[in-house]
């Protein structure tokens, strides 16, 4: 989850993550004894009653609170995949399989993650799609790892998630640290800067992102000025910007959140700096327009993943037909995540996590969000990043970066459904009602 409604939860300090993970691990120990029998009930009835087996797939996201609409969006993706699979009528391990979604509300709270995870373990789910927020997914992942249940998040972008060494942890979105190279490669390709300045807010998020950008810019032969640093709550950037103005950079990248990025951008333009300003996902929201006013126009920023409207046409149509709304952000990613679990089960011809996990790790699937393959850590290979710009106060996608290649957004949308000629016009209206979608999704819930 990298949009800003809950930016704090994903940037939890390392120590706290460890503490939570540790307590989560303790929590999981309680359930450890059951771990071995967890898959059995799914398999055991196979022999006895090959007529039909119900396989539970867990889904967790905040379904109440400020980003409930995004949680519902994620859930819709899972529901669609499961209903499609049930309609196809799959036979796995000789038994007719009916999938069932077990959807839980983690409220986007870190401490709820392990609790929900334990609930899933106890309910003997075969796999989990979720959670939505990185801050919740990381502590929960320890519980799944203990129980050996594969977990695929369609929205958690914090690199830490897959750096824990768990072999059951996967994600279908990109990582935050893939953003840096993506922004840098876009800047290099489109603006061809000779000199660039990199500024950060001295937080682990901002500095980490700025380091990645600097590395990528240097690798592309751009001269990078000495790093300037502010504070996370800095309002006055004039001194730093004046200094930069004297060095005449062609591009300025700032690693930090919108609350400090807004003043930075505004003051930069006030000082007459003509350079292009670029930001990471922390400052990739329409809040930038509020904070920086006209100066926000034309900024460049990045987010992990692709906009929902750029996913495959068949998915968009099925989603629209089923829920009568367009997907908001991550529904295509949770849809793919669910299909990955199902496909791996089919390949292994088993719903036993221990048996289908190896298949999942080496799976190749052509999903709604494009080709999916996992690397050794469980991250998606060549995950897409999207570059946005601010156009008349709205954040609009400019390009998709995939494997270091910049693809114009319109071309990407066309390419996503090459079979249908009218793909682009069909996808375009999907962009507009995005704002109304949350309401519609809420309505659907009732």
């Amino acid at each position: 989850m990298s949009l800003s409604p809950v930016p704090h939860s994903k940037r939890i300090p390392g120590k706290r993550v460890l503490a939570i993970a540790a307590s989560a691990a303790l929590f999981a120990l309680a359930g450890c004894g059951k771990q071995e029998e967890a898959p059995k009930p799914a398999e055991a009835p196979q022999a006895a009653a090959p007529a039909g087996v119900t396989v539970k797939i867990g889904h967790a996201a905040p379904l109440t609170g400020g980003i409930a609409h995004l949680g519902k969006d994620n859930e819709n993706g899972v529901r669609l995949a499961i209903d499609e699979a049930n309609a196809r009528g799959l036979t796995i391990g000789g038994a007719k399989i009916t999938f069932e979604m077990l959807s839980e509300d983690d409220e986007g709270k870190e401490n709820k993650g392990p609790i929900i995870a334990q609930k899933f373990v106890d309910a003997k789910v075969a796999g989990v799609v979720g959670h939505l927020n990185s801050g919740v997914t990381i502590p929960a992942s320890a519980v799944y790892a203990q129980a050996g249940i594969p977990m695929i998040s369609g929205s958690a972008t914090n690199p830490k998630l897959t750096e824990q060494g768990f072999n059951v942890t996967f994600r279908t979105v990109g990582r935050d640290d893939q953003q840096g190279p993506a922004v840098a490669s876009y800047l290099v390709a489109e603006f061809k800067p000779k000199t660039a300045a990199v500024v950060d807010d001295a937080t682990s998020y901002g500095e980490g992102l700025a380091n990645e950008v600097e590395k990528a810019l240097k690798a592309a032969g751009v001269t990078v000025l000495p790093r300037e640093k502010g504070k996370a709550d800095q309002n006055d950037w004039k001194a730093i910007l004046t200094k930069l103005r004297g060095k005449k950079p062609d591009a300025i990248f700032y690693g930090g959140m919108d609350s400090s990025a807004g003043p930075l951008l505004k003051q930069g333009r006030e000082l007459g700096i003509k350079a292009v300003f670029a930001f990471g996902d922390g400052a990739c929201s329409e809040k930038m327009q509020e904070l920086a006013g006209e100066a926000a126009e034309g900024l460049i920023c990045s987010q992990a993943g692709i906009p929902a409207m750029a996913s495959s046409k068949s998915f968009l149509e099925a989603h629209k037909a089923k829920f009568n709304v367009d997907p908001i952000i991550y529904a295509p990613f949770t849809y793919d995540a669910t299909n990955l679990l199902i496909a791996a089960m089919q390949k292994a011809d088993s719903v036993d996590p221990a048996k289908y996990l190896p298949e999942l790790a080496k799976i190749q699937l052509d999903g709604a969000t494009g080709k999916i393959e996992f690397d050794a850590k469980g991250d998606r290979k060549d995950a897409e990043m999207t570059i946005f710009t601010m156009k008349t106060g709205k954040i609009e996608p400019l390009a998709i970066i995939k494997a270091g290649q910049s693809i114009k957004f319109e071309d990407f949308v066309k390419g996503a459904a090459p079979a249908a000629a009218e793909a682009a016009p069909a996808a375009a209206p999907a962009a507009a009602p995005a704002a109304e979608a949350p309401k519609a999704a809420e309505g659907e819930k009732k």
């Binding site: 001295a202 001269t223 000495p226 790093r227 300037e228 640093k229 502010g230 504070k231 709550d233 309002n235 006055d236 004039k238 001194a239 730093i240 004046t242 200094k243 103005r245 004297g246 919108d258 609350s259 807004g262 003043p263 505004k266 003051q267 006030e270 000082l271 007459g272 809040k287 509020e290 904070l291 920086a292 006013g293």
Partner: protein, 331 residues
């Protein structure tokens, strides 16, 4: 050169705001030797009230001239802050006037925390964008950019400082304030209403704080419930730098601190770039310094450190601040 001029302009703007806030600290200290740590929060309240009023007016009355909106916002923020200033003196400081010095200091910190959290409850913990209704015309002077808002801030603070000086030196209230600052008991015996004078001091300081809040909000385009804390600390340092209790000292200290900060952030990195030292650049740092590389010892993130470092140096040599020795002149 235009860079240097630009940094001076940046520093002067920042310093003007510090000076106005510092006046609030120094006036109160001059009269009752209390450091009113809640003064920074008064500035925040001023910004928040103005922000709310501007937002409401801009929505309710479309097409209203921006200067009128701004005027109304200031006219709302000032009385609210005056009430806050009066209230905190009446509730938190007056009952403790004869208590040991430490007691009102602690209540001051308490009031500061209370105000911050009230603002948190009312205005949320998110950074709020200060409506940019004035537009921002830019002027270019010898390669340096100065915005209309910056000019307004500098001129506004000069006007406020002049006004305050006139008030203190030319009016009956000013005479009473100066008398009180010299000796509370004797001034009381001479027929000065001590309570009224002290309340007036708080109220005037709070009014200045309110205007400073509107200035900061407009200048940066952002307001946050914690915005008063650091600003207050800087302004307090400015007051100490100039000699706390001394009006001219607060003005001088504020402007000086602003300029030192801007120049510090602008030049400290260049002056501490070890690649400029030839034997280092040729020897141990050759790898980093190649191709115009750098090895900056202290970057711009040290700008606050630099400002406080200057403060410490000044206080070592002049413990009572730059203009601090004219004790009789305080308030």
């Amino acid at each position: 050169m235009d860079i240097f001029l630009q940094q001076l302009i940046n520093g002067l703007t920042l310093g003007s705001v510090y000076a106005i806030v510092a006046l609030g600290y120094t006036m109160v200290y001059g009269i009752i030797q209390l450091i009113n740590f809640a003064h920074g929060e008064v500035v925040m309240v001023g910004a928040m009230v103005a922000l709310t009023v501007i937002g409401a007016l801009a929505k309710a009355v479309p097409g209203m001239p921006p200067f009128l909106i701004m005027g109304i916002a200031v006219a709302c923020a000032v009385p609210v802050c005056m009430a806050v200033g009066y209230g905190m003196e009446r509730i938190a400081y007056r009952p403790l006037r004869r208590a040991p010095r430490l007691a009102p200091l602690i209540t001051a910190i308490g009031i500061s925390i209370i105000l911050q959290h009230l603002a948190l409850l009312i205005f949320s913990r998110n950074p709020l964008s200060f409506p940019q209704i004035l537009g921002n015309r830019m002027f270019e002077v010898a390669g340096a950019h100065i915005s209309a808002v910056q000019i307004a801030i500098i001129l506004g603070s000069v006007a406020l400082m002049t006004g305050l000086t006139l008030l203190v030196y030319k009016t009956r209230l000013g005479i009473a304030m100066r008398a009180t600052s010299e000796n509370v008991q004797v001034a009381g015996l001479m027929g000065v209403n001590i309570n009224r004078v002290i309340s007036a001091t708080f109220v005037i300081g709070a009014a200045l704080g309110a205007i400073a809040g509107v200035m900061v909000g407009t200048y940066y385009g952002i307001a946050h419930y914690t915005m008063g804390a650091m600003l207050g600390l800087k302004a307090f340092s400015a007051a100490v730098l100039g000699g706390i209790g001394n009006l001219a000292g607060a003005m001088l200290g504020g402007i000086l601190l602003g300029i030192v900060e801007a120049l510090g952030a602008g030049y400290i990195g260049e002056f501490t770039d070890l690649c400029q030292v030839s034997w280092l650049a040729a020897g141990p740092l050759a790898e980093r310094c190649a191709d115009g590389g750098n090895f900056v010892l202290f970057g711009s993130n040290y700008q606050d450190v630099f400002a406080f470092f200057v403060l410490i140096i000044v206080l070592i040599f002049r413990p009572s601040g730059l203009l601090g020795e004219r004790v009789s002149d305080r308030a």
